[in-house]
């Protein structure tokens, strides 16, 4: 009996192992004809419906009706690896938080899907119309605030709220993280930065309240209405409520509890916060008083914080969430599934080079950096990581003209900066490497690359660790890898300002304003304080200033040439080495119907405008 039990246990163990090692499982052979049914699909991928009942393939009528009702229909269920932290638009740090802030608050201007959902438009949200130019130079702008807007509690929302928000953004005592961006980004507001730094009074700042529905902005340089709108559409400029903001303020007026919990927050955006358990779950319901409520089909949105992506995948497969972001390994599983959605990410992942490292002077050698640039087999790497190869630095998402839906990469200037074979030229790379080594008098070189210890970065770093020595000669070049947590890596990279030997090579990827690629280059200007690499180039600064502030920048083609020139100045001497552009992959449930027909620049898949059709 004992022996039989042991035998059974052994057989069980072997069969379990065999099942793990074998791809085979029971099922139909190919020889017979296969029967394809919708039911199989629904059971497997759609899971249970919200009411808990599974629906068959009987004819469905759209429960949403012909127009969105004031209360909407259906709850969009999301899962997020990120936590919201704070809904205070003036202090948030995570871009994920900004998405939720935008859902529950309003900005003067916002990005909306066009009527046919094929493009993105910038238009007034709280503002009634485009900014009105008040002087000939284009430095004074009036903004009319929409009438009839209200907060969640029914209080009026007008120009006074906007004015209070502006004052709080720049408040010197609160020292908000977003103040400098508001003072000077797409436009520079007169004396705003001086007020924030305590060098000017509020009256001197170029922000004026004209009446309950009119505001005025004075800028340092000449601008056009689009630039003013882009500046004011940033989520950091979302409205805050004076009553709640003051209620949460401490005695010194240096901090406020606003946005830290449901008790200290009030909504006014397309959705209202209905229930919020910090770091765990948030539920929004449709705001019937939102000016564009007639475009919102959903009754609400529920977001659960699920940090593990495998658990998110299981939730999706069980029908408990409506879409999920796919990891590379999960994407391979669903590669051919028609429900997969692909979205290019608004950033190019690149190798950053510390050119002033005194211990590795070869990093300052242009030929050496170019050798690294031409030595990256981007196509091969991208096929491994399921990204797009990128030998450019301006992502494909960056628009030159929002109204015409033209991206920089679509233009002739953008195309001229592209290189054959995605910039991979092994012969040229080897030649440049040999020349650089001989110029520096080196026989062997060992470099260290720091990377954040994520699955993707490890894969990309290990790829370069193998491919560069293979190309340049393992006896001549060695790449060591050093993994570390992302926060620490960020400090190491920015540490070059105090310790020039803080790193040699690492990874970077800036998310710039995709509607203003000329402005997205600010990360490489000499006056940007949080730079990853010591790239300081007077010519680059000059072109940047011209593209952003010169009077002739609106002339036909001028700005386009300047953007192309800035990209060339970065890439030609390989001051940064672009490698890939991420592609985000999603899997969407059948009960969720998108309004867009695929990815749309800036607004993505416009989840908030989708319908629940079960």
């Amino acid at each position: 009996m004992k022996k039989t039990k042991k035998m059974l246990a052994a057989m069980l163990a072997v069969s379990t192992l065999a099942a793990a090692l074998s791809g085979c499982s029971g099922g139909n052979k190919t020889d017979g004809s296969l029967e394809f049914t919708e039911a199989a699909s629904a059971d497997r991928n759609n899971g249970t419906t919200e009411a808990g009942a599974s629906e068959s393939s009987e004819a469905k009528t759209d429960p949403n009706g012909e127009k969105p009702s004031p209360e909407g229909y259906g709850i969009l269920r999301e899962a997020s690896t990120a936590k919201i932290g704070s809904l205070n638009p003036l202090t948030y740090t995570q871009s994920y938080a900004s998405t939720q802030i935008k859902r529950s608050s309003m900005t003067l201007y916002g990005y909306f899907p066009s009527a046919d959902y094929t493009a993105c438009e910038i238009a007034g949200e709280l503002a009634a119309e485009e900014p009105i130019q008040m002087d000939e130079e284009g430095k004074v702008w009036q903004i009319k605030v929409r009438e009839g807007c209200v907060w969640e509690n029914g209080d009026t929302l007008d120009a006074n709220d906007v004015y209070y928000t502006w004052k709080m953004i720049l408040d010197p005592k609160l020292a908000n993280l977003r103040a400098s961006n508001f003072a000077n980004d797409a436009i520079e507001i007169v004396k705003a930065m001086d007020y924030f730094q305590g060098n000017a009074s509020w009256d001197e700042v170029g922000l004026k309240l004209i009446d309950d529905h009119t505001l005025e902005i004075h800028t340092v340089s000449m601008h056009n209405p689009t630039e003013v709108m882009i500046h004011l559409a940033h989520p950091a400029n979302c409205m805050i409520n004076e009553e709640y903001y003051e209620k949460g303020m401490n005695a010194d007026r240096t901090e406020t509890m606003y946005g830290t919990s449901q008790e200290h927050y009030i909504s006014c955006g397309p959705f209202l916060v209905e229930n919020w358990v910090n770091d765990a779950e948030i539920t929004f319901k449709k705001n019937p008083n939102y000016p564009f409520a007639d475009r919102i089909w959903l009754a609400g949105i529920n977001i659960k914080v699920v940090e593990d992506s495998s658990t998110q995948m299981q939730l999706f497969e069980n029908g408990e969430i409506d879409y999920v972001q796919l990891s590379t390994s999960n994407y391979l599983k669903y590669e051919e599934d028609p429900r997969v959605l692909l979205a290019p990410y608004n950033s190019v992942r690149h190798v950053v080079v510390n050119t002033i490292n005194p211990e590795k002077p070869i990093l300052a050698n242009e030929k050496f950096r170019q050798a690294l640039y031409y030595g990256v087999d981007r196509e091969n790497l991208a096929s491994l990581t399921k990204q797009d190869p990128a030998e450019y630095i301006v992502p494909t998402t960056h628009m030159m003209d929002l109204n015409k839906n033209i991206t920089f990469r679509d233009t002739e200037e953008g195309k001229a900066n592209r290189k054959e074979n995605y910039g991979y030229d092994p012969e040229k790379a080897k030649q440049l490497f040999d020349e650089a080594m001989s110029e520096e008098g080196l026989d062997k070189l060992t470099l260290t690359m720091h990377y954040s210890d994520t699955e993707l970065m490890a894969q990309m770093s290990e790829f370069l660790q193998q491919s560069w020595p293979k190309l340049f000669g393992a006896d001549r070049f060695e790449l060591k890898l050093q993994a570390m947590p992302a926060n620490q890596l960020s400090q190491v990279k920015r540490g070059w300002q105090t310790n020039p030997a803080s790193y040699e090579l690492s990874w970077g990827g800036w998310v710039g304003n995709d509607l203003a690629p000329w402005n997205a280059f600010k990360y490489w200007t000499s006056f940007y304080s949080n730079k990853n690499e010591p790239f300081i180039n007077e010519e680059f600064d000059k072109v940047f200033n011209a593209a952003n502030f010169a009077d002739d920048r609106f002339d036909e083609g001028v700005r386009l040439k300047e953007v192309a020139e800035m990209e060339r100045l970065l890439i030609e001497p390989a001051n940064v080495i672009p490698v890939t552009q991420d592609i985000y992959k999603y899997l969407k449930a059948d009960r969720l119907q998108l309004s867009t027909n695929g990815y749309v620049n800036r607004i993505g898949f416009a989840w908030d405008y989708s319908k629940i059709i079960e």
């Binding site: 919708e38 699909s41 051919e336 790497l381 890898l481 993994a483």
Partner: protein
């Protein structure tokens, strides 16, 4: 005497002829042992081999150690050789594949594939499809799961194979796993040796001198023991970066304390014995007393605790690797492989199953081996069986 006095008459009456003197002409000595004499270690060995579980554990450790040394050289791949076109290959061993057992045959289920593509020879080379299962309609598209011979699907010949499959960069898991086992064993053995060395010296001095010396030294160990391990590891990694040195140091910095305490307690037990007093009276110096006369008594507990410390060190290394504080890439360790493998557990189970089996075997074996040694070295068990 009382007995004689009381019975004097009776005893005096006994004839003296009844008595004779014995051994007056013989030498008196012990009877010679019929068996060979057994030394301490032979005694330990004899009792150790009686414990079957420990012997099996020792054999498993030897086998794993053998593969850790020679395994990485058993096929044509190196541990860091990438085959970017052959990533995530399933396990295949040619002679097992020919037996059609259903495993180690390179079979893999590709899920959610378009049925209409199955006849495209560019996507599915001839003969690679073994089975088509789970037909269904998804958004009007005919979708199936396809069981394929993944090696044929990738256009490889029958000879080319990865015995345990390949990872996310197309590196051979067999080679990496045995190299990882080697690295794990090296880390464990080196850290345990360092712990034993420091612990023995520290514990000996503390236990031998006692008094204030002991009090101060033991308080220092308590302070060291109070540091959370994760903090120590993080500090080492921040200063020295990730790598074998940081991991070994983080294991050494705290773990010698238990050895020191154990040795100290042994010294307290033996330092008052007569033979030690005798040696001291004869003028033997302190160091000779410590290391020659007292320490050998602790050899059993030291070996036992070292053996039990090895799996703890392997586990700690794996844990550190698992939470991303492991070795520098591309160097593998069992922990690094488990950490990467668990992320694709559902898609490519073989990437986690093999390292998991090896670490489980190592942990169980070292524990059983350590238990066996403890029983064998325990003097109270001598002759008990």
């Amino acid at each position: 005497m009382v007995l004689y006095e009381d019975n004097k008459a009776k005893y005096d009456a006994v004839s003296k002829d009844l008595f004779r003197l014995v051994q007056r002409d013989e030498k008196i000595h012990d009877v010679e042992f019929k068996t060979k004499p057994i030394g301490f270690f032979m005694d330990v060995w004899l009792r150790f081999v009686k414990n079957k579980a420990s012997v099996i554990a020792a054999v498993i450790i030897l086998i794993i150690s053998f593969f850790a040394v020679f395994g990485p050289g058993m096929n044509e791949y190196t541990y860091d050789e990438q085959h970017t076109e052959l990533t995530n290959m399933p396990p295949k061993v040619p002679f097992i594949a020919k037996m059609n057992l259903g495993f180690f045959d390179g079979g893999y289920t590709m899920e959610n594939r378009k049925y209409d593509n199955l006849n495209d020879p560019e996507k599915y080379p001839e003969g690679c499809i073994l089975e088509v299962i789970n037909p269904r309609l998804v958004n009007g598209e005919r979708i199936v799961d396809v069981v394929v011979d993944y090696y044929k699907y990738k256009g490889l010949s029958d000879e080319q194979c990865f015995w345990f499959g390949s990872d996310y960069l197309g590196r051979d898991i067999w080679t990496r796993m045995w190299r990882g086992a080697r690295v794990s064993l090296i880390i464990a053995v080196v850290s345990v040796c360092c712990n034993v060395f420091i612990g023995v010296v520290y514990g000996s001095i503390s236990g031998y001198y006692g008094g204030k010396v002991d009090m101060v030294m033991m308080r220092i160990t308590e302070i060291i023991n109070a540091f959370p391990r994760i903090v120590v590891v993080t500090l080492f990694i921040m200063v020295f970066g990730t790598g074998m040195f940081s991991i070994i140091m983080s294991l050494v910095i705290k773990d010698w304390v238990s050895t020191a305490r154990m040795v100290r307690s042994q010294f307290y037990r033996f330092k008052g014995r007569e033979y030690v007093l005798a040696a001291r009276t004869l003028g033997v110096k302190d160091m000779a007393l410590i290391f020659r006369h007292i320490l050998p008594n602790s050899i059993g507990p030291i070996i036992t605790s070292s053996m039990i410390a090895i799996p703890t060190a392997i586990f700690s290394e794996s844990f550190l690797a698992y939470i991303g504080l492991g070795l520098q890439a591309p160097e593998p360790s069992i922990g690094v492989m488990l950490s990467r493998g668990q992320k694709v557990l559902l898609q490519y189970p073989s990437q986690v199953v093999f390292p998991a089996i090896i670490i489980s075997l190592l942990m169980i074996s070292f524990n059983l081996f350590g238990n066996g040694l403890r029983d064998a070295f325990d003097p109270t068990l001598r002759g008990a069986e």
